[in-house]
């Protein structure tokens, strides 16, 4: 039963956000018997509420509160108020996500060591490594039911995969399969298997896809130790004279201000909102924002080097049928500077429905060239590029001078591509086109990055307090009872989709917090 906690109950752990990081942490703490309240800005939409329609679903689930953008990225020109495509709903972006679940490679935890000094990049080694993370990855994979782990078979390949696979093999790629997906290929964890519905980005209507909404939070609530409070937008974290955090101020569904007390607070609002909240919690004691003695809060914003390649063929593909992202090529994921850039990238199958294709294929474009590509929709195959981008101090989330309906400054997201990002993207565009050309594409199209689905790095983890915001457990260097539990902890971004790592870190963090509490240290 969901446990309703009192606003003045200062024995609870308060978590901001119910997505990959917050939803997992909250559930795991509850399973360990710790009283936990998750405050979630979005509403609660369940599996049966989801809509198989791209724009209607966007209206239902996406974070649409106004944001600003600046910098040389094209998103800033095409979607000036929509830097990121993420979710405001219980379950966070795991409601939208496609399920690709990959471990980092060993060198990706130590990029400063392996890539060396790179001009205009703020590289730093993570304070943790792959060996330390392996048991947590294993636990996360089991929890999430990731295919090709724990004896779970891979998903069947759909048409979009068949085209990509054939082309990839023709040009000599070896590591090509239907991915490691947190989507049931057979019934597991009281959820059925994938029906190949094809609207993975719109919230899975069959429940086959793992999300904190369907697979974590209900288990936490069943313990009686977890309350998830929807429609609660946290505006400020408060602290006492000793510099410990004491509670949060939030706007409830009716827009009324409420104050929830807490023994400990974990921030997991995704990489734009988490630094926004810390910055907005500035006080006379912490004039630059909470946990910001390093000045790194909001900095090093990463979004992966992305882009898409679409191929148009003579015969139908119907790429939208079936699992959106169950297909991967991993041969380019390695670090091989002879290609002209550091780090690596993955190719993953991707499809958009007709309405989103019109909006994202080449934003702003019109005329015969564009519409003839749309005419080829049924014969189109698609893939997404996801690669490591370089952290940069000036790629950052700041508070703008414009306020939202609650009087909270809206965030500005500044991003300039690093030349390494551009070199990688161009390499990937070329390889992607070659894959489709090898199986007879009549036309290939390079699509620019969409509004960011992977948002990372704005409260980075560091060994030394002067280099970052949180330590190896996501605990703020400056404030012992304040944690960060989402993708904003990432020191660097790696080539892999981030969620498995976010979940593994949250499980590890829950273990750490419970241990420290048991010893009376928290």
């Amino acid at each position: 039963m969901p446990a309703p906690y009192d606003l003045n109950d200062d024995s609870v752990v308060v978590i901001v956000g119910s997505g990959a990081g917050g939803g997992t942490l909250g559930t795991q703490l509850a399973l360990k018997g710790i009283d936990t309240v998750i405050l979630e800005a979005g509403s609660r939409h369940e599996t049966w509420d989801f809509i198989n329609d791209e724009w209607d679903s966007f209206a239902q689930l996406a974070w649409k509160d106004k944001r600003r953008t600046s910098g040389d990225w094209r998103v800033s020109k095409d979607f000036p108020n929509l830097p990121a495509w993420i979710v405001k709903s219980v379950g966070g972006s795991t409601v939208h996500w496609a399920g690709a679940s990959l471990r980092f490679q060993e060198h990706e935890f130590k990029t400063k060591t392996h890539y060396g000094e790179l001009a205009d990049a703020n590289l730093l080694d993570w304070p943790i490594d792959l060996t330390e993370m392996e048991p947590w990855y294993a636990m996360a994979e089991d929890r999430m039911g990731v295919t090709r782990t724990n004896g779970i078979p891979g998903l069947p390949g759909n048409n979009n995969f068949k085209v990509m696979e054939a082309g990839a093999k023709k040009i000599g790629y070896k590591e090509v399969h239907t991915g490691r997906m947190a989507i049931n290929s057979e019934p597991r964890d009281d959820r059925g298997s994938c029906l190949q519905i094809g609207f993975c980005f719109q919230g899975c209507k069959s429940g086959a896809k793992w999300s904190t909404l369907v697979a974590e939070i209900p288990k936490g609530e069943a313990t009686g130790k977890l309350e998830v409070r929807p429609d609660c937008m946290v505006l400020k974290i408060e602290h006492n004279d000793a510099g410990k955090v004491t509670g949060v101020v939030y706007a409830d569904k009716e827009g009324r201000m409420q104050r929830q007390k807490a023994r400990m607070i974990a921030v997991a609002g995704n990489s734009i909102e988490s630094p926004r909240l810390l910055l907005n919690s500035a006080s006379s004691k912490f004039p630059d924002g909470l946990a910001n003695s390093s000045g790194q809060v909001g900095r090093n914003y990463m979004r992966h080097t992305t882009g898409s390649v679409y191929g148009i063929f003579e015969k139908p593909v119907h790429m939208y049928r079936g699992t959106t992202m169950a297909g991967i090529i991993r041969d380019e994921a390695k670090h091989d500077p002879s290609r002209g850039f550091v780090g690596g990238y993955e190719f993953e199958t991707l499809s958009l429905g007709l309405p989103f294709m019109a909006a994202f294929l080449d934003p702003g474009k019109w005329g015969r060239d564009f519409s003839s590509a749309m005419d080829g929709y049924a014969n189109m195959a698609g893939m997404w590029i996801v690669g490591e981008d370089m952290p940069r101090a000036d790629n950052r989330v700041t508070l703008s001078d414009e306020k939202d309906e609650h009087g909270m400054p809206i965030p500005d997201v500044h991003f300039d591509d690093h030349e390494n990002d551009t070199a990688m993207r161009n390499h990937a565009y070329k390889q992607g086109a070659a894959i489709y050309d090898a199986v007879g594409a009549v036309r290939t199209i390079e699509t620019p990055p969409y509004p960011s689905t992977h948002n990372l790095g704005t409260n980075r983890m560091s060994e030394k307090p002067e280099d970052g915001v949180v330590n190896r457990f996501g605990q703020a260097h400056d404030i012992s009872n304040l944690f960060v539990s989402d993708g904003s902890q990432f020191t660097t971004g790696a080539a892999e989709n981030p969620t498995l790592t976010i979940v593994a870190l949250a499980l590890r963090q829950a273990d750490h917090i419970a241990g420290r509490m048991a010893k009376g240290e928290l």
């Binding site: 048409n159 519905i197 049928r321 007709l354 909006a359 019109w366």
Partner: protein, 176 residues
């Protein structure tokens, strides 16, 4: 002449178009609704017809009937009902297109027979022009989000209610 064609088209889409499309919020923040069923007529008929032609010139699809473009324009037209500024933007924008058409020796934009001439006028106007921006960005959702038009492009839409594609061809191609 153009007026007659338009009247027919508009009657046609009104008949076919009741309750077509549950619209939503575009990234630009523009909110559009399923309003054309109410026969909006804010803009002058000639303006409306020019906007339909301009829409087709922006996203020309031989297989797509005028009625779909008119549906998209109706969304703008409806918005212009409650906003003098929006209405002026449409009327002035079309007036500008017509003036450019006369410079090319035509009577107005929509009656220029050659697509290349009309496109040249749009290009000269420029993508940054607020009128052009408004018409084009409205089309991205207003045109391509009409469900009745999806089959023309081979897009099948919602599938959960039909049990997904697991038994309906998710892996049916045999040409690779």
């Amino acid at each position: 002449m153009a007026k007659t064609t338009l009247a027919l088209n508009r009657r046609g889409f009104v008949k076919a178009g009741v309750g077509l499309l549950a619209m939503t919020v575009m990234p630009s923040g523009l909110i559009v609704g399923n309003a054309w069923a109410q026969m909006p007529r804010s803009a002058k008929p000639d303006t409306f017809a020019a906007l339909v032609q301009m829409s087709r010139d922006c996203y020309p699809h031989e297989a797509v009937a005028d009625s779909y473009y008119a549906n998209a324009v109706s969304v703008l037209d409806e918005a212009a009902r409650s906003s003098e500024a929006d209405l002026a933007l449409l009327e002035d924008g079309v007036a500008e297109l017509d003036a450019a058409a006369r410079e090319k020796g035509g009577t107005d934009y929509k009656s220029l027979p050659d697509e290349a001439d009309r496109v040249a006028i749009l290009e000269a106007m420029g993508e940054a022009d607020p009128f052009f921006q408004k018409v084009r960005s409205n089309l991205v959702v207003g045109l391509y989000n009409q469900k009745e038009l999806w089959p023309i492009f081979g897009y099948e839409g919602a599938s959960a209610d039909q049990g997904g594609y697991i038994d309906r061809g998710f892996d049916d191609i045999d040409w690779v």
